[in-house]
């Protein structure tokens, strides 16, 4: 098993009446609610936590991209990843990812990911989300019905640019480049492991399976609701004749660990409820512009947003709901371990993105929960897939010998 410590970087100062006063945390959220002076401390706290997670033995540390979003303060996750690449030394840096249909030209992503891979010594995991409608269509103006086509083209361009040893001309529908000639190129060959975060599009499954990319199911619906979807994915894996290595799939789960179950509620409930009740308030009109989802996906019925069980995401929820539905795995190390085993086995996943910072959870609580998970849960879950223990196809392959950044100045030099 591989565990990645993930921080969405939510804004922790949304007001108590956010739900009543504002229709959406995303797209048209008033930007007067953001305070850059407080933001200075917030970024550093979150980046410190990611680095702390590496020191406790997490395999990866994860960041992602959102725009005009009150629970995701990383319009450019590559900037955060660059900071992490300097102050960490062994963890995979999982950028899950860059919405490649938004970059003009997407060669920019090939370049920046190559830079991150080189700076980190081959520790980059490269995520290519199609992008949410909120980010891709409403914030960045891409035409819904053409988004997938543009995404495919961007993907083809990036992968070819990474692999090619000679300049080539690219005559795409959305990108025309006479000279594609990547400088620098990534360390990992032919390219860093590619993860495709998805929400249930049938096309995305097939795309991952055909290219042997990791499919990362990112939802906040929890592992019980996620099972039907992952089952559909594994059926497609079998139908397309691929092996069923659990490392083909990743799942994001909100987790909170304390000494006892009661203590977990006491410590974390208010912060996780902040996340569900304030951060996940998304205006439904921004969630599904016609044309974004294909007719095939609508017909297959994997309309996650329209599913009855997921309607709770748009309503006010309670701690009891969250825990019972598995949206949140919280409790003593014993409880969390048992539920994590259930998650891993039932979804058949080799990677878990652990959301151990949630909502407006303070730094000390986040570190407490992270430490308990790392020391008392994670070691017991390591060997869940013994028959696949040597399968490294979906993980990083760093340089054996990597540079340690030199401190800016030795104390003596600084004085001189």
């Amino acid at each position: 098993m591989k565990f990645t410590w993930f921080n969405l970087m939510p804004w922790p100062y949304l007001p108590d009446d956010f739900r009543e006063k504002h229709r959406s945390v995303w797209v048209d959220i008033p930007n007067t609610l953001y305070d850059p002076v407080r933001g200075h401390a917030v970024y550093h706290e979150y980046m410190d936590q990611l680095e702390f997670a590496e020191s406790l033995g997490f395999d990866g540390i994860g960041v992602n991209e959102h725009h005009q979003n009150g629970y995701g303060l990383m319009p450019s996750p590559n900037i955060i990843a660059a900071g992490l690449a300097r102050r960490t030394s062994s963890a995979a840096i999982c950028v899950i990812g860059n919405s490649i249909a938004l970059y003009n030209p997407p060669i920019r992503v090939a370049e920046e990911f190559a830079m991150l891979d080189v700076i980190s010594g081959g520790r980059l995991v490269a995520g290519f989300p199609v992008g949410t409608p909120m980010d891709t269509n409403f914030c960045y103006g891409q035409i819904p019905a053409l988004t997938r086509d543009k995404y495919r083209e961007a993907h083809d361009l990036i992968v070819r640019a990474w692999a090619s040893d000679e300049p080539f001309a690219f005559d795409g529908k959305y990108n025309q480049l006479r000279w594609v000639n990547l400088w620098p190129k990534p360390i990992q060959k032919p390219h860093p492991p590619v993860y495709i975060p998805g929400g249930g599009s049938v096309e995305t499954w097939d795309f991952c399976i055909e290219h042997d990319y990791n499919y990362s199911y990112l939802s906040f619906g929890g592992y019980l609701a996620g099972k039907a979807l992952l089952d559909g994915y594994w059926d497609r894996v079998a139908a397309l004749g691929k092996d069923d290595s659990p490392y083909r799939a990743a799942f994001a789960q909100i987790i909170a660990v304390a000494d006892t179950d009661a203590e977990a509620e006491k410590l974390y409930a208010e912060h996780i409820l902040y996340f569900y009740n304030r951060c996940l308030r998304v205006y439904p009109g921004f969630a599904d512009p016609p044309g974004y989802r294909t007719v095939r996906t609508i017909r297959e019925g994997t309309l996650t947003l329209l599913r009855r069980e997921n309607q709770a995401l748009f309503q006010s929820v309670t701690w009891k709901d969250l825990v019972e539905r598995g949206m949140v795995i919280a409790g003593s190390p014993q409880t969390v371990r048992q539920r994590m085993e259930e998650l891993i086995k039932s979804l058949r996943v080799g990677h878990v993105f652990c959301l151990l910072h949630n909502g407006n959870q303070p730094d000390e609580k986040t570190r407490h929960s992270t430490r308990l998970f790392a020391e008392q849960v994670m070691p017991h879950l390591r060997d869940m897939w013994p028959e696949w223990s040597s399968d490294e196809r979906w993980w990083i392959h760093p340089l054996e010998s990597r540079v340690t950044p030199r401190p800016p100045a030795e104390p003596a030099e600084a004085r001189a």
């Binding site: 409403f138 103006g141 035409i143 819904p144 439904p284 921004f286 512009p289 016609p290 044309g291 007719v295």
Partner: protein
């Protein structure tokens, strides 16, 4: 109205409503973003004097081939391909378009100004005024369309949904499929800002043009009528009372009379 299907040279299959006498002058009508609804009073009125053809755009209803159409030029040439398939090319049909169809009709006229008789634009998309931003219809929830499109939202009852029963999950799914096809197609012309720089081509539109506007259009406010008149070389404006964006459905008889008065 009789329904037929034609195939264009590009390969789209297009359902066409046709009415009126063979000997009458042809009028090609292009529907709006909501499609051809189950109320043909306007087309029937027009068919009393003209040979009316109302093609359904690929992505709408039974017409297919929407994947072949990606940008404004594709849609404009598709309009001419349909005219060709109907045998109208060379006969200088009058061209009329409502809403999104008005935008396509104006583009068609800019491409081939000598190919049409007269032009009628009913609450057309195609221009953008910073002081009157058009609402983001792609973020509307289904129930919001009626309020934005109609002078009398009660008139929308059943019309926009084709009388579907939304308590039936399968019907709801079919509605979402239909909506995804219709507005997904419309989005190629109208998303995120419904302006494909038509204004810089309008100098070519030398056909006599009637601009019709619903006085209570809340989607594209009537100030746009004046902007069209400024940009069009030969135009006049007719305003229709007690009509929102959906003039052909709210005031079909008056619209048919006004259009006939202009076409002669």
């Amino acid at each position: 109205m009789n329904a037929t299907t034609v195939e264009t040279a590009r390969g789209a299959r297009v359902r066409v409503l046709e009415g009126g006498g063979d000997g009458a002058q042809p009028v090609l009508f292009l529907h709006g973003l909501a499609g051809l609804l189950d109320d043909h009073a306007f087309l029937d009125g027009l068919a009393e004097r003209y040979h009316v053809f109302a093609p359904e755009l690929p992505g709408y209803g039974d017409s297919t081939g929407e994947d072949l159409l990606e940008d404004m030029l594709d849609f404009s040439l598709h309009g001419w391909d349909v005219a060709e398939a109907l045998g109208l090319a060379g006969r200088r049909p009058h061209l009329a378009g409502h809403s999104m169809g008005g935008m396509i009709a104006a583009e068609m006229a800019c491409l081939a100004p000598g190919g049409i008789g007269r032009l009628v634009l009913v609450d057309p998309f195609g221009l953008w005024l910073d002081e009157h931003p058009i609402p983001d219809l792609f973020s509307f929830l289904p129930f919001q369309f009626a309020d934005h499109l109609f002078h009398d939202p009660a008139r929308a009852e059943g019309l926009l949904t084709g009388g579907m029963d939304f308590s039936d999950p399968e019907a709801l799914k079919e509605f979402f499929v239909g909506n995804a096809r219709r507005l997904g197609t419309a989005g190629k012309m109208l998303f995120p800002v419904p302006n494909r720089r038509l204004s810089k081509r309008l100098y070519r539109l030398t056909a006599a043009t009637l601009v019709v506007w619903g006085e209570s259009d809340q989607l594209i406010v009537p100030a746009y009528a004046d902007r069209w008149a400024e940009l069009l070389p030969r135009s006049s404006i007719a305003r229709v009372a007690e009509a929102g964006h959906m003039v052909p459905y709210e005031q079909p008889e008056e619209l048919a009379r006004t259009v006939a008065g202009f076409l002669g």
